[in-house]
């Protein structure tokens, strides 16, 4: 019988079936960061256990680090304490840490693929929900909690039930000015924020197949926003060329052997799925969220929907969203005034995202009263962008050019919304309070759309600027 990538990866990593009926699944790559691990290391110490496979464990600092001044000690004593714990734990357990001095520091989901650590056919875990990102290279990648981080540190395994599999096919061709971010927001809008519960998503179809690796990373990143346990794209020539020459990818003849194995892990023709969903790529226009979860989105030319047009159980959330955002049903999203523009995050903090934003930034200056931040996803992204002069374009247009970190995606450092500020953001969540202010408001969109909002001061159709 034809098998899927999920079947093959699952079988290859199954240690045994547990008495509970779940699978004891080996985790091939464990990525860790400073926020969700100190308690796990403490538990490990209390159990007097070592890290089971230190060679398969890598750490970085991303969530709490400042993006303006990264000199130690950090100005925020709590951030400094978390950093110190990370350094101490990594040293004590003999694990490599990609810190600022390494030149390889960055958001964990940006550096994994960038360094060639994340590879096809692997199981990957990290104490962060956006671990689904790594599925873009053809891995099965799970976000986990801290007690599960302890399990992976101690046993290199997780107790898991195999998810069902839904193939999400995006047909046709995308229009100019429509990006991977618009595609994943359209998918989440169609399938719902809990539509993926119980499923892994396999992204396929001509639009996905033509995408670069960075675009696929954006797609897989937000699988979790659709409720899916993980999401992946089958490894192909794009995957193999992306990995060639990366520091932690196999080199020389070993690379060719690896490439052959990677290709062999792809879903076979004729494989069956628990469900298949389809979208017409040509029908997608630049997408903007208007509400308080990533499924509440519309095309930039559309009007904010009315709660009364929703099924009864959805209406209270729609009303709450309108009240929080200060919007009215029927209002166009285009023209909504913004206070802050943020380009960055594990969703859209890679080089191609910065290029797309710079293309738009060239056409104007940041509007008066708008605070605009560009936060590269990693030190290497920052370096590559600077080599192309992108930082000069941003600075000339009035954007702030920051250092790598999670930043205003979740507001754990100084980069926060103030009061009810409205943010145009290339990040992944528009939850109430997400960007650091309990009353702050977030409009999710592509990096190009964020740049367009930054220079006009309002939500703008980027296609009108690029034309």
């Amino acid at each position: 019988m034809a098998r899927t990538l999920l079947d093959k990866v699952w079988d290859a990593h199954t240690v045994r079936t547990l008495p509970s009926g779940q699978t004891q699944l080996l985790i091939g790559l464990h990525l860790i960061h400073e926020v969700t691990t100190p308690q796990a290391f403490q538990m490990l110490k209390e159990l007097k256990l070592k890290v089971r496979m230190p060679a398969r464990t890598f750490g970085t600092l991303d969530h709490i680090i400042p993006t303006a001044d990264q000199a130690r000690p950090f100005a925020d004593p709590q951030a400094e304490e978390m950093a110190q714990h990370m350094y101490r734990n990594m040293k004590e357990f003999g694990l490599p840490l990609f810190d600022m001095a390494s030149g390889k520091q960055g958001i964990v989901h940006v550096i994994g693929p960038e360094l060639g650590l994340s590879q096809p056919g692997m199981t990957i875990a990290c104490g962060d929900s956006h671990t689904s990102t790594h599925g873009a290279v053809g891995a099965i990648a799970f976000g986990i909690g801290t007690t599960q981080v302890r399990d992976v540190l101690a046993t290199q395994c997780l107790a898991m039930a195999k998810p069902k599999l839904r193939r999400v096919r995006v047909e046709g061709t995308l229009a100019n000015g429509v990006y991977a971010k618009d595609v994943i927001l359209a998918i989440i809008n169609q399938l719902g924020v809990k539509g993926g519960v119980g499923y892994a998503y396999e992204y396929a179809g001509p639009v996905i197949e033509r995408m670069t690796m960075e675009e696929r990373l954006t797609i897989c990143n937000m699988s979790i926003e659709g409720g899916a346990r993980c999401g992946y794209v089958n490894p192909d020539a794009t995957t193999i060329e992306y990995l060639r020459g990366r520091p932690y990818a196999p080199q020389g003849e070993a690379f060719d052997r690896a490439a052959a194995w990677w290709k062999s892990m792809a879903t076979e023709r004729g494989a069956e799925f628990d469900d298949i969903a389809r979208l017409d790529g040509a029908a997608i226009e630049p997408v903007v969220t208007w509400g308080i979860n990533p499924g509440m989105s519309i095309g930039v030319s559309q009007r904010i929907p009315s709660p009364d047009a929703q099924p009864e159980p959805e209406r209270p959330t729609f009303r709450e969203a309108l009240a929080h955002m200060g919007f009215e049903a029927g209002q166009p999203i285009k023209g909504a005034k913004i206070d802050v523009a943020f380009v960055g995050s594990c969703t859209n903090g890679r080089l191609s995202d910065l290029r797309a934003a710079a293309e738009v930034a060239k056409k104007g200056k940041v509007a008066e009263g708008v605070r605009a931040l560009i936060v590269p996803g990693s030190q290497q992204v920052a370096q590559a962008a600077e080599a192309e002069g992108l930082h000069e374009i941003f600075l000339a247009a009035g954007f702030q050019w920051r250092k790598a970190g999670c930043s205003m995606c979740l507001g754990m450092n100084d980069d926060k919304l103030q009061g009810r500020e409205m943010s145009a953001s290339s990040s992944n969540r528009n939850f109430i309070g997400r960007q650091g202010s309990p009353t702050g408001r977030t409009l999710l969109m592509s990096p190009a759309m964020v740049a367009a909002a930054a220079i006009t001061g309002v939500v703008t159709d980027v296609r009108e600027i690029l034309r």
């Binding site: 290859a12 240690v15 547990l18 008495p19 509970s20 009926g21 779940q22 004891q24 080996l26 091939g28 969700t36 100190p38 308690q39 403490q42 159990l47 256990l49 496979m53 925020d76 951030a79 978390m82 714990h85 590879q119 104490g127 962060d128 929900s129 671990t131 986990i144 909690g145 801290t146 007690t147 599960q148 302890r150 399990d151 101690a154 046993t155 395994c157 107790a159 924020v193 809990k194 519960v197 979790i224 926003e225 409720g227 070993a254 052997r257 690896a258 194995w261 308080i292 979860n293 159980p313 959805e314 959330t317 979740l410 507001g411 754990m412 969540r429 939850f431 109430i432 650091g436 309990p438």
Partner: protein, 198 residues
Amino acid sequence: MSTDFKRRHMTGRGIPLPGNDIDTDRIIPARFLKEVTFETMGEHVFEDARKQNPEHPFNSPAYRGASVLVVGQNFGCGSSREHAPQALMRWGIRAIVGGSFAEIFFGNCVMLGIPCLVASQEDLEWLQKAIAKSPQVPVTVDVEKQEVHFGDHAIKASIPDGPRNQLVGGTWDSTAVLLEAGAAIEATAGKLPYVAGF
């Protein structure tokens, strides 16, 4: 494993929290995560939501000391932060009944021995109203029988077999169970070409 770990059934007063898609940022905002332990999490559960809404159930004296949380659809979506179930647990929650749960949140709850059971929309609305009317009446969450009892009334509430077996059998604290595989872990790793270096 000690019987202390078995989560066959638990009884306590209920607390209804209506609404769908309540995310883990809402349960505990990120600014409270800058801690190297979970100790203070209970103090900040729903902090922003409680400040913005004095009527929030977690502010109500009627529900103080409650341990069975009754929620809507897609509870715990978003961030994987275990700080969210830790905050609920440290506030006093021991079991959750809802329409559906985000999977990482559900898994984190299992790791803490907190059962999350799924009930129908109709039954949830009934249960939330019944608790609001009589908050002193104890609620029993029977994990083994997959039922929730309130007074003389019982509703069906399901939990998948794997986690149910872990909770009922007391094997939810999984490190010991996973360690039992012993050398089979390295044997599985040894067969993977990427571990061997191709």
